[in-house]
Symmetry: D2
Subunit: 345 residues, 4 copies
């Protein structure tokens, strides 16, 4: 069986695992108060070119999103998100569990726009309504699309106009940063938002997300919020160790290399399938590919390849999702293309 | 100044106030554990023809909605509501404050449909998603429209199919029950839903809503939920006393009389304005009327009449809202129609 | 039957009810945005000698406590209270429902001390612990005792030292202000705390508490917090109207007169019973009296008088609670004393 | 520097790390739905001799405690815990963040008793009070003490009498199970409680706790509660892999071996120091040792050994805490004893 079902189906990239093993016997303080977390934070600050910020490490995207949001908002304030946004649709109401609403709008290609943000903001009128205060978006989005520099700049301007915080979920930030279509580097991204995280789990870590928070009032007592939300790892240095391994070297780091590898193979899938006449759902330029196969072809492919159907079949055509990762091998992609060619012909 | 701005702009209907005054010196236990609440509950059970239910009294619709919803749902469960629903849009996130999401759909004429409920329900997939469990709707709706017997029956069937509870916010239930277009009496309504409330605040009470809950698992320890949500009134008998005064006599009670009066005057406004060529937003058959005036006419009317603009003006036309109540006098309606005629000609 | 079971067993003082009746047909805006609330707030500011504060009206003590506390604290902050404090013991976890801990200490005569506050504060150590941030106490306390000027000043000093807010629950503030033992007037009280409320429900109102908040950061968007906690009354002017009636005239107002009346009759009970050799639980100087009767005497008294046993009987002796109010008549007190004399002899 | 500061200062026991490494390239489903978690759960069910239960894996004790408690309780229900209990004192109000109170009593040797539970339960009276519903205790306790079979049986009886659930925090369960003083094996423990967890983080895992829940109503939709509380790890199989490595072999497993090793060295510290005339705080028989040194001796020891002062010094005597773990070497213990001997003489 060859796997294209997710970018977190295996463990860690071997170099990340090596770093965990080689530091295993060290004694450190717990809870992220250790030299590895300190150094990883320093590497991140250098990478984004901002020293006046805090870096907080989490074991996953959900605790990271929930903690950031609940630390940033007063009780009557709300989040604005695309209806497909992870924090809305795939976290079992974790945001609402902290007392905050997520005001949703149907996105465009999985993305928010200044107009949609303005529309959501009209929910705010007076003391009988919540006040949207934070825009949540993902780079890359749930369906693999990315915000261009122009698009994110326009969103930032809208946020400034309405007094909104801008938070970027970077679960697949590596995929966004290294795809061919991208024109927004991490320094520019960091400059445009109030907080964002660099996702490790889906880009080579065993687990781990590095949250960067620029806003001092959000950083105030942030570790209390982390602990209250059950989001501090006892052996916190495991997070620091992994991000050292991933990000040492900045834009030449393992993190970028892993993401580029996954994107390159996704691109090969895309162009190979396209050459076979296959069409796609949406226009993801990153490590998620959404081809639409005849149902019978999808069924045959499922026999040797593990991947998920993405939406209900319509008119005999089945949209599926293929995801590449650090562990995907070029021959696996070739095998998929060959099989597709066979079944489609 | 003549007032059409709301149905809670004055105090109580004089007969309700009389009841409060005439019982003022009685000594009773507090918190709703008194003979008046007991008797009012009994009157309500007779009126709806259901003895196997509980009646809980609240001082307003928001505490009533929030308590019912938080008592009915497990933490990961959610509400389905129209985006215009009061519990979503005008309670400052009170539902989310108890940890529950409100999944919204744009309503049709301010109303949910079985199709919209089914669409919202697709949000439920697995342990990464909330489970919509309770449908919230208002009779009459925020924009004065009402559910027909056919419509509510279809919604009930959809709820049964999906395992959903059905809760009806009756802040303006009187207006719905007594309007000419209505074909759904209170016994039928009560039979179709799991819980609903009979709104007093907007139909002649100083304050007060009588919540009927049929579902035993929701009634379990309900008074603990009421107190936890700060929703028990110390001198709770005030609620019982008012509902005795309002509902004694069932469908011949003061409650029905008050609502009929308001509807009749709303109808007169509607037909009078219609005769003047005025058009309306939506098709409310109840005590809320939404005429659309030329902006200049609206401005002149505002000088002698107090009412609210309902939406932004478009193309020089201003939608406004007129609300009638127990205290509205026929001559006030006549004055409004006369002024409209003058300004429009 | 003669009633000594509570100070909220009847409706409102007739003058308060008159005010409700005489304003019944007025049209005003809802939600407390009306001239009566405005005027009542102004009367209160004059009475306490502080203009730089906000007055918020609630229908009861529980919503008042919960809203103030949740508005004042960040999520990881906690309340310090006596274990007998109402917000801890009689609000079904309403404070915890907003996510905040109540750190408790056994009080001394129902009261906190600087030492107990300091002890509770040691719970705060680092990001693994909550941070106590607000001291909650009641004047008079649950068992009728009062804080002297010296005591409350010492608590204020401890609060300043530890960076704590001081909030006084004044459900029975009238009883405290007007009892013979009191040396702390309302101006001094207001000056010493960050927020407090003037309780109406237990001193002549149908319902209503007037919360005074001095701290600007707590007042920020306070009405959003009120609505989110379901604490805004639709016909809010009812609260303003009642406090106008109660507090017009300041220290010569009906509010003081009612409380004095209740205290005077409580004092008569106390001295009369004392003369009969009866002993008391605690040393309440206010409108709650806690005599300890032989069980057989208590049983006989229960036949003609309605009051509550306060604690379990021990060694044949039954502590009970007698409460006086605006509606208590001197002859009722005389009757109780006479019966006690008979049964005790 | 030699470390006695905690049992989570290093990474994982090498055999646990080996298991992570050797399974690193496997492809599995995420979120704990994989063969390793399934097999680890099966091993646990065999070990405890109960097949009719569910095993849920968490990355730490705090998310485990918070999720279990919030899944087990209705909103108005509360936890009973010792004031020193971890869920009360070291989780920054995580339980209250889910809306539940922790009713505390001062423990006896860090432990609850049936009498203390009964005392806490008196907080429940009527709808104005929370209902304590779950007893939280730790085996071993925060200060290293353990419940005997007799003690836990008596607590279970009290729980049955009062209708309470019994939940055991097993962060240091290994230390309890394998210490000389223990007479309560894991089958007996599992039989006595409704839920408990087998702590991995403090006994050789990189991270991980295995929660056993017997109560079907608590297991109902438990994974929804886990996700809502941000407690599901993406690469969940990491938890299964570690518990397979730790628990394979049951009472002859690595888990028991690691804990025995730590206990044996703690015992050596205890007896060695005792022979030097040192006295101890409390009577921990597990891997935490609390000697009391003269302040000058403690200061000298701090130069070569890393450990924490446990409480404020009194009369020149400083209580400290020494913790042993899988990584502690016998020569490190010998070195500590030798240094103590030198400094004490």
């Amino acid at each position: 069986m060859i796997y294209f079902h997710s970018d977190y189906g295996q463990g860690a990239h071997p170099k990340v695992l090596d770093a965990i093993c080689s530091t295993n016997l060290e004694y450190t303080d717990g809870y992220g108060l250790d030299p590895h977390c300190e150094r990883a934070a320093s590497i991140i600050k250098d990478l984004i070119g901002i020293s006046d910020c805090e870096v907080h490490f989490f074991i996953g995207g959900t605790p990271c999103n929930v903690t950031l949001i609940s630390a940033a908002l007063r009780p009557y304030e709300a989040v604005i998100a695309a209806r497909t946004g992870h924090a809305y649709v795939h976290e079992t109401g974790g945001v609402e569990a902290t007392g905050h609403r997520v005001v949703t709008e149907d996105g465009v290609n999985g993305k928010l726009t200044p107009e949609l943000i303005a529309k959501a903001y009209t929910e705010y009128q007076d003391e009988h309504t919540v006040i949207p205060r934070l825009v949540y978006l993902s780079q890359s989005s749930e369906i693999g699309t990315i915000y261009s520099k122009t698009e994110l700049t326009a969103i930032r301007q809208k946020c400034d106009e309405l007094g909104l915080l801008l938070y970027v979920d970077g679960a697949r930030l590596g995929a966004a940063l290294t795809c061919k279509a991208n024109d927004l580097n991490i320094r520019e991204l960091a400059a445009l938002c109030d907080a964002f995280y660099i996702g490790g789990t889906k880009n080579g870590a065993l687990f781990g997300e590095a949250l960067v928070v620029k806003n001092p009032s959000v950083n105030d007592h942030f570790r209390w919020m982390m602990k209250r939300q059950a989001g501090i790892l006892a052996k916190g240095r495991l997070l620091g160790v992994q991000f050292e391994a991933l990000l040492e070297g900045g834009e030449n780091s393992l993190y970028y290399e892993i993401a580029s590898h996954a994107n390159k193979l996704a691109e090969k899938l895309r162009s190979g399938l396209s050459a076979l006449g296959v069409e796609f759902l949406g226009n993801s330029p990153t490590n998620q590919v959404f081809p639409i196969f005849p149902e019978s072809v999808a069924a045959k492919l499922h026999e040797d390849f593990f991947f998920y159907d993405w939406a209900a079949a319509e008119n005999g055509m089945q949209p599926v999702r293929l995801v590449t990762s650090w562990g995907t091998k070029e021959e696996e992609v070739d095998a998929f293309l060959a099989a597709s060619k066979t079944f489609l012909s």
